[in-house]
Every structure is written in C-alpha cells, then in structure tokens.
C-alpha cells in the first residue's frame, strides 16, 4: 500500500551532507552577489555590503570565472562580443578584465600577443564606455 506522499517531509540529512567548505561557501556567496547585481537588486557596492564580501574577494571571483573565456576568443569574434555586451555588461566587471590584460601575461607572451591584446583592450574599453553611458542615461 502506498504511503501518503505528504506523510513526511525533508530529505534525510541533506543539510548535513551539503555543508560546504569555507572556500565553496565564499564561491556561492560571490555567485549570488553576481546574480543580484545582474538582476538589478543591488549596485556592486551594495551587493558587497549585503553579502559581506570584500572588493578583493569579489574581483578575484570574477577574474577566475572569466579568465579563460575572455582571452580565448574575444577579438574578432562577434558572437563572443555580443555575449560580453549582454551577459557581462557590468562596467565594474569589464574594468576587471581590462586590468587582467595587463597583469596576466609574462613579458615575452605580452610582446608576442601585443597586437591582439591591444585590440581586446580597445574593444573592452569601448564596451565599458557604452555601458556606462547607457547606465547614466537610464
């Protein structure tokens, strides 16, 4: 005979099983903050205050998340460009990308890639400027 499907509640001791390490907890907090900023709940500064994050913690999260994505194929790739403009269209985030371009390569690699890096920086600065203007207007 079937038990009443409402007879009990809860899913074992899932609360215990899903206790996260402090590193994962921080990652989760950053993800949530990012979503809140993107959805317009908070400005970046407000989100940092609301979720008890330092600017360094949040910037580090954004940088880690975006590093491979941004350097692989931005320049000359219209699809990626559009993604950056829509999904990542937060000036603060784009400014982090620009900083990363200057700090993520050694001298030799920077020399080899200098033309491409230059193009990427110009594009990012353009997007950042466009988004800032749009936000000011809004």
């Amino acid at each position: 005979m079937l038990l009443d499907r409402k007879k009990f509640s809860g899913f074992g001791d899932i609360d215990h099983d899903l206790i996260q390490s402090s590193e994962k907890e921080l990652l989760h907090k950053c993800m949530v903050a990012e979503q809140s900023i993107s959805d317009g709940d908070f400005s970046v500064d407000e989100a940092l205050e609301a979720y008890g994050l330092s600017k360094e913690q949040y910037d580090s999260y954004v940088a880690k998340k975006s590093k491979s994505f941004i350097f692989l194929s931005l320049s000359g790739n219209k699809e990626t460009y559009a993604t950056i403009k829509t999904s990542f269209a937060v000036p603060h985030v784009i400014d982090i990308y620009i900083e990363m371009l200057d700090s993520s390569f050694d001298d030799q690699l920077h020399f080899i890639l200098k033309d491409r890096i230059g193009r990427i920086k110009s594009e990012l600065e353009g997007i950042s400027s466009d988004v800032k203007k749009l936000k000011t207007k809004a």
Binding site: M1, L2, L3, R5, K6, K7, F8, S9, G10, F11, G12, D13, I14, D15, H16, D17, L18, Q20, H28, K29, M31, V32, A33, Q35, S36, D39, G40, D41, F42, E46, E49, A50, Y51, G52
Partner: protein, 242 residues
C-alpha cells in the same frame, strides 16, 4: 542513445522485491511511452544497494503507475517502522508527465539515525540526478521544510513557487532581523515581484546568503522548484551537490 526498457529489466526489478500496482497497461509499455530513457533497473538496484541494508525490518518496495492525465509513476521504499523517527526508513518520489515535460517530485527521504551523517542523502540525490538527465526531466519539485531543507534547498538554487509562502518568510524576517539586515531582504523581494507580479520562481538563493537569513530560512517551509532546462542553474546545482 535513449535507453529502451525491456521485459527482462522489469523482471530484474521484481526480483529485487518491487511490486507494481496501478494501470492495466503493461508496466514496460507504460514506461517506454511516458518515461523513456529511465534506466529504472539500474536506478532501483542502486537504491536497493544504498538503502536496503539500513534496517532489519521488512521493507515495502512499490511502483505505482497511472495513465490518467497526467501520467504518473510513484516510487516508494519504506520499512515497517517508518513512522519511528529514530529507526524508520522511507523514500518517496514521483514522476509526472505534462505534455512533453517530465517533472520529478521529491516527496521525502527518512533514514535511520544510525545511518545519518554518512553522506547517504547526497548519494540518493546524485543517483536521482543521473536519471533526471537520462530522462530529460525538466523540473524537480519539492517542499523545503524546516531545519532540514528551508535553507539548504535555497542555497542549492531552488526557487520558490508560491508567492504567499515567500511573503510569509518576508514578514518573519521583518520581525526578527535588524532594520539594517532587513533592507536588503526587502530589496530582493521588491525587485523580483515588481518585475514579476505573479512570479513563480523567486530566487531563494539570493536570500540564503544575506545576514540573518540562515536562521529565518532554517525555520521556514516553502515549495520549491529547480529548472533543469536552465543550463546555468543545472551547472550550479550539480556543482553544489557534487
């Protein structure tokens, strides 16, 4: 390739002690028609492996299926002493099909105290998740309840489907949090419902990390849903429960 359920597979399920009840159509036909891709033999054998040795009391293993719309399959696995909070074992889950969409409803899991804090709940959840992906389940639904789930499912990216329940939690937060804490809670609430007046997907995860909200959510009850067709949410959920 989509798994085709066979009569041999059904025989193996029966050999594990599962009984089928419900519709007059053959079970194998029912599954292939409404829940194709479900590796039910593999799933139930794994469930038996995880839960079967947790009690010496007789276990009832039931598969109830109904064609009447919406087609539904209920899986239950429970011990004779399931009512006992210390020794009882009980698991209930249902799948329903709405048009082309399959919904999984996680009713409950109760495990004996001696088996708690050993990662079993997470294993059962991951076992389910494997099948959800194989079957193309669109949504997981559950009732996040009290200390066990109110906070944990919020953190696991489930959204709240019932606005009244969200409102109740908001009021509780207003009464218990400081004004400084509550202003952020309210902002998330207002922003969502201003944009989605009849919204059925309030992002509880945004509340879960706000100061003071862990206590509020731990003592709350709300109906939640996870949209598995949203690849971003699915990835986050899998990372969270992995």
């Amino acid at each position: 390739m989509l798994h085709i359920i066979t009569n041999e597979e059904i025989e193996r399920i029966k050999a594990l002690g599962f009984e089928t009840t419900g519709s007059t159509v053959p079970f194998v036909e029912f599954l292939n028609e409404y829940f194709p891709g479900f590796r039910i033999g593999e799933y139930l054998a794994a469930l038996e492996n995880l839960l079967g040795s947790l009690t010496q009391v007789r276990i009832t293993k039931e598969l109830s299926f109904h064609e009447s719309p919406p087609p539904m399959l209920i899986i239950q696995y429970y011990s004779g002493d399931c009512e006992d909070d210390q020794t009882g074992l009980a698991f209930s889950q249902a799948f329903t099909r709405h048009g082309n969409e399959i919904v999984a409803e996680l009713d409950y899991l109760r495990i004996p105290e001696s088996a708690r804090k050993k990662g079993l709940s997470k294993k059962v959840l991951n076992l389910n998740l494997q099948q959800y992906e194989a079957m193309g389940v669109a949504k997981i639904k559950l009732e996040a309840a009290l200390s066990n789930g109110g906070l944990v499912w919020a953190k696991a990216f489930f959204s709240a489907t019932e606005p009244e329940e969200v409102k109740t939690i908001l009021i509780k937060a207003e009464n218990k949090l400081t004004a400084e804490q509550f202003k952020f809670v309210e902002r998330v609430y207002d922003n969502y419902y201003n944009q989605n007046p009849d919204g059925k997907a309030f992002p509880m995860n945004k509340w879960s990390q706000l100061a003071g909200m862990d206590q509020i959510l731990q003592g709350s009850r709300w109906h939640g849903e996870l949209d598995l067709n949203n690849s971003d949410i699915l990835t986050k959920f899998k990372n969270y429960v992995a």
